[in-house]
Symmetry: C2
Subunit: 320 residues, 2 copies
């Protein structure tokens, strides 16, 4: 059952960061800027523009500063950068980002593998960053990656995740994202963890970041919504993903879950047509097909002409 | 929130009917029989083996009688055939099916396009079939296709769908399937319609048949489960689909939603490994990739070795 509260969700579009970082084909800075500028007109609440990681680690996003310098910022849209460390925070501040997204995994193993730090070291870094950079113009969001499961450790203890959320808030994060980094969450688990974190921190600006690695992405979005979540990361076309599941789909597809919310009578603030048009540009940009469904099948309200009126008739395959 | 009742669902595997009927490549009868025989060992409750439609309409299933004659029937598994008309029912009875699945669309337009009959004509036919063929050894199930939406007419009036359910039961159907033929249902609508039909017919053997055309398939499965549904059609690899959405995925993928239910602590009666192994045989049988995710990504409980122990190390892309 839906939680109380307005039927309104907020979309943080991450394709240009979480999607592009995985792509082997270099996407020209101009092309990224054009894409982000068009995204700014689509009604999304936030855009995770790029990542200030080392260009050696993520060459696809080596132009993060350039991209931020050249996009046209639109009032009402929050422009976010992923920041892995103090050096990244300095670059992000120089680029005048609106929000820094700091990432640590709840799984010690995953954090050491992904960030080359222990969780304690990450938290120490985060304290330096929030102390140094939280300002009137820059807010800090903290992501807890592998919050629902780690590909090395398995399911994560909700108490550990809640503990990290508490630490994040103590050291000055303004919002928290729970990320299902490798698509291991299931709807029951999502319902339980979202309800638990919102019970403990009722005013928390909470965002959910799901992957569709095992097909559960949209089911998890609904479960989170029903438990009270109102802010969701998504990636147009479902681009992005996880290096541990070759062939599997990546992030939940923005236009697919926006379409679902609209069908459910939940306002997303976005224009679906604009999102679908952007998604349809992606295969040419990234050089491969993408997994989004609504861009292929069309919205449910786009009806087809009756085949009874067509001289070609129709099949009689008895489709139930 | 989950409805009361045991955490147990029943799977009706439809790939060899709803999946194969869409395939252009002829699949040898022997290959179908081997596939169904292995399916019989996987723990599914029912198998929709084939369809007794005209071979001109669906050449891919022209061998329905042969397939039924050659499969090894396993006690506890119900072998179903789709039956479009009286002639099909005669052939199905001769083939000694356990269950006939009769199909009519709630949408008048879709029924005329798909079955070349009005809904009233379909109901008349069904009465003849239930009168002639319901027996100690043959049960009749009635499917209401396009129950959530029609690609020509749009959303369907729940009162009309409930009315057809009532007629189905009056004329002797033992169970009813609500089918989202072209993937137009959304979770809220599913919750409402399933709750409504189970309020009106609390003892009804109700099955839900979803398509993933717009990515909402598994979200709809959860919504139906939470509203009290306990029986689900699925298609291994998500094969099958709808001719009105080229490039879109088809039926909900059996192994993906079985995996989801197992993650949620809901018993499906099946062995996921057996279903995944069957799904992995499909691309070679049908000649193209299939859309299932778990067969690619693996179950969430199949953990990966820690990269910290590997001399190759791992990437540092800072994946949230």
């Amino acid at each position: 059952m839906p939680a109380d509260g307005p039927k309104r969700v907020f979309i943080n579009e991450v394709s240009t960061r979480d999607g592009f970082q995985m792509e082997l084909r270099w996407i020209e800075t101009d092309e990224k800027v054009r894409f982000i500028d068009d995204l700014s007109l689509s009604g999304v609440a936030k855009i995770e523009v790029s990542s200030f990681v080392s260009w050696k680690a993520v060459p696809a996003l080596a132009d993060a500063s350039d991209v931020f310098a050249r996009i046209q910022r639109r009032a009402g849209v929050i422009y976010v950068a992923l920041v892995p460390n103090l050096r990244g925070a300095e670059r992000a501040a120089a680029a005048e980002v609106d929000e820094m997204n700091l990432v640590m995994s709840s799984s010690e193993t995953h954090n050491r593998a992904n960030m080359r730090m222990t969780c304690a070291q990450s938290l120490g870094n985060f304290r330096d960053i929030t102390t140094g950079f939280a300002s009137k113009t820059i807010t800090l969001n903290g992501t807890i990656a592998t919050a629902f499961g780690c590909p090395f450790e398995g399911a994560q203890d909700p108490a550990r995740v809640l503990g990290f959320a508490e630490r994040y808030l103590e050291i000055g994060m303004a919002g928290i994202t729970l990320a299902d980094t490798t698509g291991m969450a299931n709807p029951r688990q999502v319902e339980d963890l979202v309800a638990a974190i919102l019970r403990r921190f009722p005013e928390l600006p909470l965002t959910l970041h799901f992957h569709n690695t095992r097909g559960m992405g949209l089911a998890n979005v609904v479960a989170a919504y029903d438990a009270g979540a109102r802010s969701f990361d998504g990636s147009l076309g479902g681009i992005g993903g996880c290096p541990f599941a070759p062939g599997a789909t990546g992030n939940v597809c923005t236009e697919d879950f926006v379409h679902m919310f609209e069908c459910m009578g939940v306002d997303t603030g976005t224009q679906l047509d604009a999102l679908v048009a952007l998604s349809r540009r992606l295969p040419a940009m990234v050089g491969h097909d993408v997994s989004g469904q609504v861009a292929k099948a069309g919205a449910v309200w786009n009806l087809h002409p009756s085949p009874l009126l067509s001289p070609a008739g129709c099949d009689t395959a008895a489709h139930p």
